[in-house]
């Protein structure tokens, strides 16, 4: 019940905002911020109550919704979604605080932000296909509005591209979900959309798994975004308002990787192994390609956007390492990327607010003028490069360690992404922050305001916290990762390691095998 309350609290807040007269902008902003912060603080309780020893869903609520079709309102969190959930509430609060400078339609803007928050949170807790798909599509709308209404000069193009691209991808997923729905009825005899139930009992042969994998893959790969489905991202980022970019990079992209972990791997383990080389290839291409293209960007936001393509390639690589280190690294890097690129977008937004340009060549020598900003920017740059002591390093280290055990060649190519990241980030940093001031307009820049500093400080704390002591974060993943691995490991390689979930798994594998034979 608590989880449901947390998830819908922002939406309730959005409704409440609708009753505040639109002239009272201060009150609207404060209400929105209060709701978001309350949601974040309350969500910390989830971390406190979370049992890290089990892979089972926690804080669950399962009430029948449309019983005739087997649809229920089933929500819960496990190690895969817990931190994503908390990060979402945190980034929402930060994004709202960062949007206090919005001039146009403040009330509608805040309503969209809060509604977006509920949509995103819903995606991470849904344990029912119908519910999941509803949230998945629902969060598109406020994001579409945020880009399309409060965005930059080419906002319509970017918003439409974003919307259509993601919607097309998810349509195939919808088809796949419906197919699964009927298939499950045919084989098991129940009409249900319950994800947990389906994951446990579904029988699919190789060919079916392959087709379904591809349908889900497209939806999630667009969202991640993986090469070559990434071109909506730079456009969306460039046109979106700062807070939109923060949410986009911080949370929306994570829905893609989350989808792989929640659906593709456990539902289609055979296909996942089968397609592993292709997925890893795309991930590695994304890493190198994203980095190379980022290097050539002249617009700061585009540069950060392409760096996301590169970094999310690492996350995908970690997921498809299919071992503990890789998955641990991938989950951690999910969080890290949300923190770091969210912060980078905030910082770019701050200088954009002051100078109304994001072109690298318009800057230079800012270090002398705005020292506090410089320090924050440097910390985030180094975190993005993956310097030890920052969060980025731990994630990349675990991912590469994991992928190295299984796919050495991919690991070695991927490391070139680390070198290229150092190149493009430091080159950018040098051109923006160092050397002499060439543009007189930069001489009068004001340093970060207290409000802006408030948006950065939590992120900086997490950069170093994860960098120096990642255990409180990684320990939430462990049980779920172990469970996930037993779901995807082929039986013959399945060493008896005394997992608590092994009995359950064995029956599942037996079932899966029976299913495979049955269809032949």
């Amino acid at each position: 019940m608590f989880l449901t309350f947390l998830t819908f609290l922002p939406l309730v807040g959005a409704l409440a905002l609708a009753f505040i007269p639109k002239e009272k902008e201060g009150m609207i902003k404060q209400t929105a911020l209060t709701v978001a912060i309350a949601d974040f603080l309350l969500s910390l309780q989830l971390y406190a109550d979370f049992d890290t020893t089990t892979a089972a869903m926690q804080f669950t609520l399962d009430v029948p919704w449309i019983e005739a079709w087997g649809i229920s309102y089933h929500v819960g969190l496990d190690g895969i979604s817990l931190l994503l959930y908390i990060m979402t509430t945190m980034l929402t609060a930060i994004a709202i605080l960062a949007s206090f400078g919005i001039k146009k339609h403040v009330r509608e803007y805040m309503i969209a932000m809060l509604a977006l928050s509920t949509g995103m949170l819903g995606v991470f807790i849904s344990l029912d296909f119908f519910l999941f798909y509803a949230f998945w599509e629902f969060q598109l709308i406020p994001m579409y509005l945020l880009i399309g209404v409060w965005g930059g000069p080419r906002r319509i193009y970017a918003a439409v591209k974003f919307f259509i691209y993601t919607a097309v991808g998810s349509l195939l997923m919808l088809v796949a979900i419906i197919w699964i729905y009927f298939h499950f009825h045919k084989t098991v005899g129940v009409f249900t959309t319950d994800i947990m139930l389906i994951t446990q009992q579904i029988n699919l042969d190789m060919l079916q798994q392959k087709w379904l994998f591809c349908a889900f893959f497209l939806a999630f790969a667009i969202k991640v975004p993986m090469f070559p489905f990434h071109t909506w991202l730079p456009d969306a980022h460039v046109e979106a308002p700062t807070a939109g970019s923060v949410i986009l990079a911080g949370v929306l992209l994570k829905m893609g990787t989350y989808g792989f972990l929640r659906f593709n791997l456990p539902l289609f383990p055979l296909a996942s192994v089968e397609f592993l080389p292709y997925v890893c290839s795309l991930a590695v291409i994304g890493i190198v390609y994203g980095a190379l293209v980022a290097m050539m960007q002249e617009d700061l936001k585009k540069l950060v956007a392409y760096s996301s393509v590169s970094h999310l390639g690492f996350v995908m690589l970690g997921i498809f390492a299919f071992n503990h280190y890789g998955l641990q690294g991938a989950l951690l890097q999910n969080i890290n990327h949300g923190i770091t690129s969210g912060a980078l977008f905030l910082l770019v937004g701050m200088i954009y607010d002051r100078r109304h340009t994001r072109l690298i060549k318009d800057f230079g020598g800012l270090a002398k003028v705005i020292p506090v900003f410089t320090v924050c920017f440097m910390i985030m740059t180094l975190s993005s490069v993956g310097l030890p002591g920052t969060n980025g390093f731990i994630g990349e280290f675990l991912i590469l360690l994991g992928i190295f055990q299984n796919q050495m060649a991919f690991a070695i190519i991927a490391t070139s992404g680390v070198i290229l990241a150092a190149c493009y980030m430091l080159w950018m940093f040098q051109r923006v922050m160092f050397l002499q001031i060439t543009n007189p307009e930069n001489e009068k820049l004001t340093d970060m305001t207290p409000r802006e500093l408030c948006t950065m400080i939590p992120l900086i704390i997490f950069v170093f916290w994860i960098g120096f002591y990642p255990k409180p974060f990684t320990k939430t993943f462990d049980a779920s990762i172990t469970h996930l691995l037993t779901q995807i490991t082929p039986k013959d390689n399945h060493a008896p390691q005394g997992h608590h979930a092994s009995a359950e798994t064995d029956t599942k594998i037996a079932q899966a095998e029976a299913g495979t034979h049955g269809t032949h």
Binding site: M295, L398, Q430
Partner: protein, 623 residues
């Protein structure tokens, strides 16, 4: 007692954090002395550790691991935040914190006029912290952490003057080259983990002798990858081009990071991982070869440069080449011994150069100096001592360590005549460039009469004098170094070889170099001009550092940029993004085409009707 060793990390870290947070509120000099106190404190704690090690028998001095807390716990894999106290780490730390402390004190005078005095000291403390992490790490993970953090400190300090373009570019170059090294180490660590299931030094080194056959593919690969890191950090060919450029940073930085400590980390790494390298004799030959080649190449470039700091930078590369030669032929403690003496006299040379630059109002071109012996007597004497030590003049510190290296280049486990011959040539070059520099700077008459050089204040000259003492007498520590470090290297290696012939030739080479420098630079410029003309092509190549920067630019930087540009302009905009938009456009075109049929215009409906009827008619008639 050993748990006190955490202070070695904690003190400089405290200095860094407090100076960077409250730097602006610290009175200027207080900040500097505070930073010095932190490093001095770390030095005292290190001395305490030394005393503690001495209270135990040599065999018990190994593997004192102190664990603070578990860092990552993953399945079948856990990393503790822990440090390792043993003779090697304490020895290295004595140099890092000891020389580091002297350079900190010197910096108070040198950076006195800088507006961002406290920021400088914050970074310097950060460096000492990072270097201590590197040295104290008890596993490969924290080794990499320290390895990358010293790279960061180096980046921040080279680019300390953020408005100076050459400095900023040099900082970036150094960082990127070091990241290449980091990645090599990273992959090496993954391979080590795959083979040993652990990253702890203690586990890995204990298992190493039985885990591989000598020259196994995997041990060769592991050691080779470790070397990529070592060579990048220690500026060995082919990853050396960042070091000369790094001289754009403040001179104390060059002394501390780019001479005495950080750049020797590669040698430390090989010594630390001797259990692995011993299993890979091929790699040992590679180390020795790269070392001796770097010694020659860097030495030859150093002979013709005119920037006082760059000459010393090439000399550093060359001397680190000697250290690699030593560890490469299997005499690890000789390499560490040279690392120590080099730290003394090279730090001294750099600080002396800094004093000269300070006194000459930021002039670095030795052609514009000369005759400084009168204006700067203390700097002159100490610089002379450092030069003698560097050139290997008998009984100075450099003489002992270098003589042992040259001797072992022939007699060592992997030594041979070629290594020895090349080492002797490099020794000769060392004598030449050292005294060429010395004569240009201090002897003769001043070449810029308008300059008003002055001696530096005591806060700068006191460290010079202490280091000069160490440069003179440090050589006599040799036997102690060898016996103290021998447990780490699996017992004592016979160091002394009675081969008077080789010894005489090596000394003669050093003297020959010095005399050649004296002959050319004391007796006037004419012979020099003649020599330059005779050897013009060689001279050009040397002066332009064998064009290596240009070659890299052509082979790597330009192609990568071109590929990036191609990706951005062609693949991204015209390829992927265009096709995405094109799909959208086609869908729209098709729907527009279809929508004509539904436009509501009666004319078109009529036309359709006619067309349809005609089609049916034709179908009926002809079928």
């Amino acid at each position: 007692m050993y748990s006190l060793s955490w202070l070695i990390l904690l003190l400089p870290l405290t200095g860094f954090l407090s100076l960077s947070w409250f730097g602006k509120r610290f009175p200027k000099l207080l900040g500097g002395w505070f930073a010095c106190a932190m490093v001095g404190g770390a030095f005292l704690v290190t001395l305490l550790m030394l005393a503690q090690l001495y209270s135990e028998s040599p065999a018990d001095r190994l593997n004192h691991v102190q664990t603070l807390y578990p860092w990552i716990v993953s399945e079948g894999f856990s990393l503790n935040l822990s440090i390792l106290i043993d003779p090697l780490s304490v020895f290295m730390l004595l140099i890092v914190t000891g020389v580091g402390f002297l350079i900190h004190v010197y910096s108070i005078g040198y950076m006195h006029h800088d507006k961002e005095f406290n920021r400088f000291f914050a970074y310097m403390n950060l460096f000492i912290f990072a270097m201590s992490v590197l040295v104290l790490a008890a596993d490969f993970f924290f080794l990499i952490v320290g390895w990358a953090l010293v790279g960061l400190a180096s980046y921040l300090l080279i680019g300390f003057w953020t408005e100076k373009k050459s400095a900023v570019l040099a900082a970036r170059k150094a960082f990127v080259m070091n990241v290449i090294g980091d990645v090599g180490m990273l992959i090496a660590a993954f391979m080590i983990f795959e083979h040993f299931g652990s990253l702890n030094y203690v586990d890995v080194f204990k298992a190493a002798p039985t885990a591989f056959f000598p020259n196994d593919d995997s041990i060769l690969l592991i050691t080779f990858l470790l070397l990529v890191g070592a060579f990048a950090k220690s500026a060995q060919i082919p990853l050396h081009t960042w070091l000369p450029d790094a001289m754009e940073g403040p001179t104390p930085v060059s002394a501390l990071i780019h001479a005495a400590t950080m750049v020797t980390a590669g040698v430390y790494l090989v010594a630390r991982c001797n259990a692995l390298f011993t299993m890979a004799p091929f790699t040992m030959y590679l180390i020795a070869s790269v070392g001796v080649i770097t010694a020659i190449v860097a030495g030859s470039i150093g002979m013709v440069q005119y920037d006082i700091k760059r000459v010393i930078a090439y000399s550093t590369m060359s001397q680190i080449g000697f250290m690699f030669l030593a560890v490469g032929v299997g005499v690890y403690s000789v390499g560490m011994f040279h690392l120590m003496t080099h730290a003394f006299f090279k730090a001294l040379l750099f600080l002396g150069a800094g004093s000269v630059i300070h006194g000459m109002a930021d002039e670095q071109d030795i052609r514009k100096m000369g005759g400084l012996r009168y204006a700067m007597p203390i700097t002159f004497i100490t610089f002379l001592i450092a030069s003698l030590a560097l050139a290997g003049f008998p009984l100075t510190a450099g003489f002992f360590s270098k003589e042992e290296i040259v001797m072992n280049a022939y007699h060592g486990q992997y030594g041979n005549f070629v290594f020895w011959g090349l080492a002797v040539i490099a020794v000769g070059m060392t004598g030449f460039y050292t005294f060429r520099l010395f004569f240009y700077t201090f002897m003769g008459k001043s070449r810029t009469p308008e300059a008003k050089p002055h001696e530096s204040p005591l806060v700068m000259t006191a460290p010079l004098m202490i280091l000069a003492g160490l440069s003179l007498l440090g050589g006599f520590l040799g036997p102690w170094v060898h016996s103290f470090l021998s447990p780490v290297f699996g017992g004592a290696v016979p160091m002394h070889h009675d081969d008077a012939m080789l010894e005489i030739i090596a000394v003669a080479a050093a003297m020959g170099g010095i005399i050649a420098a004296v002959a050319i630079y004391m007796t006037g410029k004419d012979q020099l001009a003649f020599a330059k003309q005779m050897l013009a092509p060689i001279y050009e190549a040397l002066y332009n550092k064998y064009y290596i920067d240009e070659i890299y630019d052509f082979l790597i930087v330009k192609p990568v940029k071109a590929i990036g540009k191609f990706m951005e302009e062609r693949a991204e905009k015209l390829g992927i993004d265009f096709s995405v938009d094109e799909v959208g456009r086609q869908v729209r075109e098709v729907s527009r085409g279809i929508s004509i049929w539904q436009s509501g215009k009666v004319r078109i409906y009529a036309l359709n009707m006619v067309a349809g009827m005609v089609t049916i008619l034709l179908f009926v008639i002809f079928m």
